[in-house]
């Protein structure tokens, strides 16, 4: 049994097991244990790939290279730390009566199935299976968004279901078109035409440009909906704010990355067969639009989870923009930003989850004085926000700086909207943050049981990435950058 099989099968079997025992007190620990095994296997697999280069499974169904293996590790890691956070959090929700036994079982089972679908999407070599796994990721999470059964949660889940369903249907059509283009070259009757490795080998000039262009537009709309690109972002703040907080953490930190991964994989094909920068320019346009609009929307939020969802849209817009700019430096920056954003954003959602349990509400104007009632949560939120806003010692600063440099080199005029966007987003976050963290705590506000370990670990990693990127990690990013952009940034 290969390490990849372990990485994929363990969450799937864990999901089945938790469907049976998910309501017992031990379920939280099983969830953590499954996360530990998955993460261990993913890490070992990453070391193998790092030493021996890309791996293609014997059936050619799975393909692991430098680009997706680091996302596999990141997904398994954030999945693990969020499951550590989710154990006391969900117990608290059960005590408050917001979640019944049956729903707790559903939650635990779907949590692992969701991780499985993301890992499958990342590791598969078949563009069709990639689509199936992305849709599966929607299906597994839609009932979790509506877990609390409030009218708001139902509305959010319905929007999520319908909008992502429609969006991702466009991606299926794009996949059909790519298959069409490839089949007219390779001949009918082969069953390996949708394999990414096969497509990438033949992409250099032999795929029909008209069909590929059309396919990319459909795929951009489709996977772009899941990335949360404006104007297809409407589902995202609702889904992230109404579901249980551990879901917000994995949705924001992981699902958006996986959708963007799918988009970048397709862009690699399109670039190779078009020899123009069309795909990149489309991504730059959508990315910049998302970045700007989401930054402005930060200012008018009442709900703290909603606010950080808009911040996710803003950062995904920036990363999409970075991949669109192309070139080694921008690609390196975008890859790094994907990592640090995931780590920071899931840490923030973990902290926000505790803060909301502390204050008993998600409304920004009713969360006050966190740092006095429970310093750990207050500091966590403050440092998380500082990190996500891009302050120097943290890794987000480095990646944003790299992206800014790359933009200045190739599109100098676009640095102005970027800088303005950073400023607007910073102001939007801090005008709310300051009063939530400091301020006078309402009378009777008591500390809650909180597990801040995931936050500490994530923020420490982000700080480490900001001070010094370890050598093996930078070589890894470099390999991925060469794979995507064709040249080394160093």
């Amino acid at each position: 049994m290969t390490l990849l099989e372990v990485t994929l099968l363990v969450p799937l079997l864990g999901g089945v097991l938790l469907a049976i025992v998910g309501h017992r007190p031990v379920a939280g620990w099983i969830n953590v244990a499954v996360g530990v095994v998955t993460f261990g296997a993913a890490l070992a697999m990453a070391l193998e790939v790092f030493a021996d280069g890309p791996q293609l499974s014997p059936s050619r169904m799975f393909y692991i290279d430098a680009f997706n293996v680091y996302l596999v590790v990141l997904t398994a890691f954030v999945g693990l730390t969020t499951s550590i956070f989710s154990r006391p959090y969900m117990r608290h929700e059960v005590e408050r009566g917001r979640v019944t036994d049956r729903r707790l079982r559903l939650y635990h089972s779907m949590y692992q199935c969701f991780l499985f679908s993301m890992l499958l999407a990342l590791s598969t070599n078949n563009l069709g299976v990639l689509w199936v796994a992305m849709e599966l990721a929607t299906l597994t999470t839609v009932l979790l968004v509506s877990l609390y059964r409030t009218p708001e949660a139902i509305e959010a889940a319905w929007k999520y279901f319908i909008l992502c369903g429609v969006g991702i249907a466009q991606a299926l059509f794009g996949t059909v078109l790519i298959y069409f283009a490839a089949e007219s070259k390779l001949g009918a009757g082969r069953d390996d035409t949708l394999l990414w490795t096969v497509l990438h080998d033949m992409a250099g000039g032999s795929l029909d440009p008209a069909v590929i262009t059309l396919a990319f537009v459909f795929l951009l709309v489709g996977y772009g909906t899941k990335v949360g690109l404006v104007p297809l972002h409407n589902w995202l703040p609702d889904a992230h704010s109404e579901g249980p907080t551990p879901m917000s953490a994995v949705l924001s930190g992981l699902l958006l990355n996986v959708a963007l991964y799918a988009l970048v994989r397709v862009k690699m094909l399109v670039d190779a067969s078009l020899h123009t920068n069309l795909a990149g320019q489309l991504m730059m346009g959508f990315g910049l639009l998302s970045f700007t609009v989401a930054g402005l929307f930060l200012h008018r939020q009442h709900d703290v989870k909603r606010m950080f969802s808009y911040s996710s849209i803003e950062h995904m817009g920036l990363i999409t923009f970075g991949f669109g700019v192309g070139g080694p430096l921008a690609t390196f920056g975008a890859l790094l930003h994907m990592t640090v954003h995931s780590l920071t954003k899931s840490a923030i959602f973990v902290t926000v989850g505790h803060a909301c349990q502390l204050a008993g509400t998600q409304r920004i104007d009713q969360i006050r004085g966190l740092i006095r009632t429970q310093p750990a949560i207050g500091w966590g939120l403050l440092l998380g926000t500082v990190a996500i806003a891009g302050f120097p010692p943290f890794g987000v600063f480095i990646s944003e700086f790299l992206l800014l440099m790359a933009t200045m080199k190739s599109w100098p005029w676009l640095t102005i909207p970027l800088l303005a966007g950073f400023g607007v987003a910073f102001a939007g976050l801090f005008r709310h943050m300051q009063r939530m963290v400091f301020g006078e705590p309402p009378p009777g506000q008591k500390p809650v049981e909180a597990n801040m370990l995931p936050v500490v670990v994530h923020l420490a990693l982000v700080l480490w990435l900001g001070l010094a990127i370890p050598g093996f990690l930078s070589r890894w990013f470099e390999q991925a950058t060469i794979l995507i952009s064709g040249a080394s940034p160093l």
Partner: protein
């Protein structure tokens, strides 16, 4: 190319594809629930028949599996599920007020013309007997999307969604003789799970909102949220240092 110059099988394929497109238009303007569900089943049947015909003409036996999947899902399972749910929710005689039916149909016509325009740039690649139908498949997909955008009832939105999915499946059949089997099975599995989830949601919607009209969704709209600062100025809350 004149239709008379095609052989009989190809003529039949074009005919049934055109009928499937026609059912899309019927669904667009059909306000009552039961006929809407039955029209959707008819569309599924027509598409399954076209798939069988393509399989016969092109001698691709795995298209029979694809036809069987379409038949099972789009003609049997999903319409039956929707029918049962409508009866259980007591809404089988409901009709929905469609805002601008004429405009909607004209929009549908525009989408069909647009799909022919889009298909023009790609059909030359395909030497298959079925290339006339590529435009029809794109049109069915886009009309499904229009249906979802224009209608406020949850049932109509689900039918629009499934109709889009049918259009894409159909595009795969007529342009490339079907996707690889594993992908088709995966997609069919996803659609099956999605249709069950939709059923679950109908009950949640009715319990929370009293009806399946999603047009009344407005709790989470950005437009309905006041600016935080204005609100803070209006009512100074306790414990606010500002």
């Amino acid at each position: 190319m004149g239709i008379a110059s095609l052989d009989l099988y190809s003529q039949a394929i074009v005919l049934f594809a055109a009928l499937a497109l026609f059912t899309s238009f019927i669904m667009l303007a059909q306000a009552r629930m039961m006929p809407l569900i039955f029209t959707f089943a008819w569309q599924g049947l027509l598409l399954a028949v076209v798939t069988v015909l393509v399989a016969l003409v092109s001698n691709h036996p795995h298209l029979y599996i694809s036809a069987a999947l379409t038949f099972a899902l789009k003609v049997v399972v999903i319409p039956w599920l929707l029918y049962r749910l409508s009866v259980r929710l007591g809404m089988q005689y409901d009709a929905e007020a469609i805002a601008h039916p004429t405009l909607l149909l004209l929009g549908g016509v525009a989408l069909v013309i647009f799909s022919y325009h889009v298909a023009q740039s790609i059909v030359h690649l395909s030497g298959l007997a079925t290339r006339n139908t590529i435009a029809v498949s794109i049109a069915i997909e886009l009309l499904g999307m229009l249906l979802m955008c224009a209608r406020k009832s949850a049932v109509a939105q689900v039918i629009g969604f499934m109709s889009m999915e049918s259009g894409i499946f159909f595009a795969a059949v007529v342009s490339t003789y079907g996707m690889p089997l594993i992908v088709e099975l995966g997609v069919a599995f996803d659609i099956l799970v999605a249709s069950i989830l939709f059923g679950v949601f109908f009950f949640h919607l009715r319990d929370s909102f009293g009806s399946l009209d999603v047009g009344q969704f407005n709790r989470l709209s950005e437009a309905n949220q006041s600016m935080p600062l204005r609100e803070a100025a209006g009512e100074p809350s306790a414990g606010d240092p500002a």
